[in-house]
Amino acid sequence: MTEKAMSFSTAWKSFYAKAGLPRIVIGVFFIFLNIVSIVIGISFGSLMTDVIIRALMNMILVLAMVPGIRSGIGLNFGLPLGILCGLLGGVISIELDFTGAMGFLMAILIAIPFAIIVGIAYGWLLNRVKGSEMMVATYVGFSAVSLMSIGWMLLPLNAPEMAWPMGMGVRTTISLEGRFNHILNDFWRFPTGDMDLSFGGFEIPTGLILFVSFMLFVMWVINRSKMGIAMKTVGANPKFATASGLNVNFYRMFGTVLSTVFGAIGILVYAQSFGFLQLYLAPMFMGFAAVAGVLIGGANVRDANISHVIIGTFLFQGLLVIALPVANNIMTLGSLAEITRLVVSNGIILYALTQVTGGD
């Protein structure tokens, strides 16, 4: 082998070791889809805008995985708990007739206390099932969603856009039109529709970027704080943490509460971009997409950081955004993109769970 080939091969090896097989495969697939989309003549600018918006609107839900993993409860499959709190905040904010930025802010402020209470209860439960948190969390998520389906039916809400025309309860999807639809997406959007700049339909959702960046920064600060480091220690080795005078259960609960609160905020960011609050069974599988996102980013059940969240969300959501029009163009099978999404997200979760090594 020549010198050059040698150095290339070591560079490849170190890249391979750092990035890991799944990220390389998905990255290559992502680039491949991009090329195909250009070849078949899909507007690249608007496609990229979609990728950015889809990634950012999902990013806080993915970010909610980080404190769970770091505190040692593993992948928080119980994310629907946080999502339900967020939805409840949103619904109450509308019921109290807040609109615009105020509506969004109030939704978050109302959701957070719910999320803290639910997070404490959920953390208490997870502290009692150490070792099988992820399985328990999955079913806690499922049952909470089902239970809350009854809750949505019974809530005494009267706002005309939410209530059924007859009887009690709220509708399955609630439009945010006139409330906080696109409140972040449209804040300082650049370039705006009336500016005649041809970026091929490319737009920058400045407000969304700022808000998500702020949340990422908050998580970064938490991770570097004394409590964040204690949480990480507890997650990395509970016995070590105990010997270092840390209360393992407290920090696990702290991580769970953080994860739930971020889940609540995450769903509101998602909803303002999506334009609807989706109630009833919609939150059931949202946890899985978030889990897949953080895992694609390179996290595992023991370690996760902010960069995993950013990389993973862009790769995973970007893949799904681009796969849809490409698949529609190539094959007119309507469900192909959905099939791709399920194969990729469940496949990546499966891969990550096979990488779980026993505690030593």
């Binding site: 004394k226 480091i229 220690t233 990395a236 270092s244 023991r302």
Partner: protein
């Protein structure tokens, strides 16, 4: 010597694991009906010898062994435990190998069931034959009767007292019709005194039926009571073979411990004779496998005190109890004031640091860098390595790195950089990281447990030298727990020996091997108090 007179002979047995010699030229001869004790400290090679006898795969996968095993004078090539069983060698395990939900009969007859044909077995396969429970119960009864055990054979194992479980194991072995040699591996370790004496009676009964017994133990009084001959091993070598009539407990103790001390060059430390830095009063620790049951100990300020004893006797429990890691009772005084128990944070605040015997499970964050490993405990308990911004605090990355670099130089931690995850370090360097973390707490009392376990010779010396240095230069009081007596005797000022969860006595490093042997075996306090001042 006529070979035919021996049921089992092990000739010139030797074994090397990856270049480390663990056994060398061991000879054991066993006549029918003889009770032969194999004595030795932990790590003397008893288990390896038994693994060879039973053809365990750990022996054959690491290159086999030297020497020859003869059964009834014929060379036996035992390659697996099943072949050992077929050759007539049985084993009573230290940890019971019984199925709790099965009855005594079912356990005794497991995989050797007596069966009778039925219609299905005739048509299809003899694996479908019916169990002949009447015959099985008869056999089980007979085996239990041999042991003078008054218990019904249809009772389930679950819920039986520990002592009875041991007897069921024995009954299973003696029920095997071809049994020639029965090995007892530390059989009395889990038994009460009366159960143990029953067991010794049973051993005599079995041997009177012509079955030879290999009795592995470290309890000298039991050996003297029941064994005909004894072989003493030390560091994988045969120290001697004695007949019961020709020896004494004292001699055996001395043979077991032997002289193996390399005195570490040490200057003088200043021990304040007037004050006790640490006092344990009626201190109990509920640590599984290493229980402490009410011990008293006084540690002077500025001394290095060693805690020794055999595995399972409780020496490991002392430090874990004081550090607050396992439930403990009693009283711990530091500088005369009581320490709240079961509270690791309080122990750290009272300036106690603990270097755990279980480096990888308790001592390290394996996937996190050396720097954070060293800093984290001090950060969480003393607020070090933090920058404060109003109510927020952030890690002081620079200070953490600088401190780690300083420790790396002081303790000679070999690594690619201070951010290297500790998982990739060698055992010795991992141990240095653990010590660095403890020192970062600036302790007044340092507990180190098994500081040299699993590390190479060079690193061992460095770790021990570091402890001595800390003691002399900073006046740190050090409590060092170790299974290696030689190591304790080389660095400690006094050595406390723990037996059965209690303080057996305190010795000076220069005391005789005999005293050490007697204390470790628990025969010291039973003898007349010969000057072993306990304080």
């Amino acid at each position: 010597m006529e070979t035919a007179n021996f049921v089992l002979q092990m000739k010139g047995i030797g074994k090397e694991y990856y270049g480390t010699r663990v056994l060398e030229n061991i000879n054991i001869n066993l006549a029918p009906g003889e009770i032969h004790a194999v004595l030795g400290e932990n790590g003397a090679g008893k288990s390896t010898l038994m693994n060879i006898l039973f053809g365990m795969s750990v022996i054959h996968s690491t290159g086999g062994f030297e020497g020859e095993v003869l059964i009834n004078g014929e060379s036996a090539n035992i390659k697996s435990p099943v072949e050992a069983m077929e050759a007539g060698i049985g084993m009573v395990h230290q940890e019971f190998m019984l199925i709790p939900e099965y009855t005594i009969t079912e356990n005794i007859k497991l995989n050797r069931e007596i069966t009778k044909p039925n219609i299905f077995s005739r048509l299809i396969s003899n694996k479908l034959e019916t169990l002949d429970r009447i015959e099985m119960n008869k056999d089980a009864k007979k085996a239990l009767k041999t042991l003078d055990l008054n218990i019904e054979e249809w009772i389930k194992i679950a819920g039986l007292p520990v002592g009875y479980m041991q007897f069921v194991e024995i009954a299973r072995e003696i029920d095997k019709s071809n049994l020639k040699v029965l090995v007892f591996d530390e059989p009395t370790a889990v038994l009460t005194e009366s159960e143990a004496s029953n067991l010794l009676d049973a051993m005599r009964t079995i041997s009177s039926k012509g079955i030879a017994i290999l009795f592995i133990t470290h309890r000298l009084d039991e050996v003297m009571e029941v064994a005909d001959n004894m072989t003493v091993l030390r560091d994988g070598k045969l120290v001697g073979v004695r007949k019961k009539e020709e020896t004494s407990i004292d001699e055996l103790a001395e043979m077991m411990v032997g002289r193996k001390i390399n005195k570490v060059e040490k200057g003088t430390n200043t021990i304040d004779e007037s004050v006790y830095k640490l006092e344990l009063k009626n201190f109990s620790v509920d640590m599984p496998g290493e229980k402490i049951k009410g011990m008293d100990l006084k540690v002077r300020k500025g001394e290095i005190i060693g805690i020794g004893g055999l595995a399972g006797q409780g020496k490991i429990g002392v430090a874990n109890g004081v550090a607050g890691l396992y439930p403990s009772k009693g009283e711990v005084l530091i500088d005369g004031t009581p320490l709240p128990l079961n509270n690791p944070k309080e122990s750290i605040n009272r300036r106690i640091a603990f270097v755990s015997e279980d480096r990888r499970a308790v001592g390290l964050l394996l996937d996190i860098g050396i720097d954070m490993n060293i800093a984290v405990t001090a950060m969480q308990n003393k607020g070090g390595f933090l920058k404060h911004y109003g109510i927020f605090s952030q890690q002081d990355t620079k200070a953490i790195k600088e401190h780690a670099e300083k420790m790396r130089k002081e303790l000679d931690i070999r690594c690619t950089g201070v951010d290297q995850p500790t998982r990739r370090l060698s055992g010795g360097n991992q141990q240095k990281v653990c010590i660095a973390r403890a020192l970062t707490l600036e302790p007044e009392i340092l507990f180190v447990s098994e500081p040299t376990r699993g590390i190479d010779v060079g690193a061992k010396k460095l770790v021990l030298d570091t402890l001595v240095k800390l003691n002399q230069e900073k006046g740190m009081t050090i409590v060092m727990t170790s299974s290696e007596l030689g190591e304790l005797r080389s660095v400690c000022d006094r050595i406390a020996i723990i037996n059965e969860g209690k303080l057996e006595g305190i010795l000076s490093p220069d005391d005789s091997d005999k005293d050490y042997g007697l204390m470790m075996a628990g025969n010291y306090s039973k003898k007349a108090n010969s000057g072993g001042e306990v304080e």
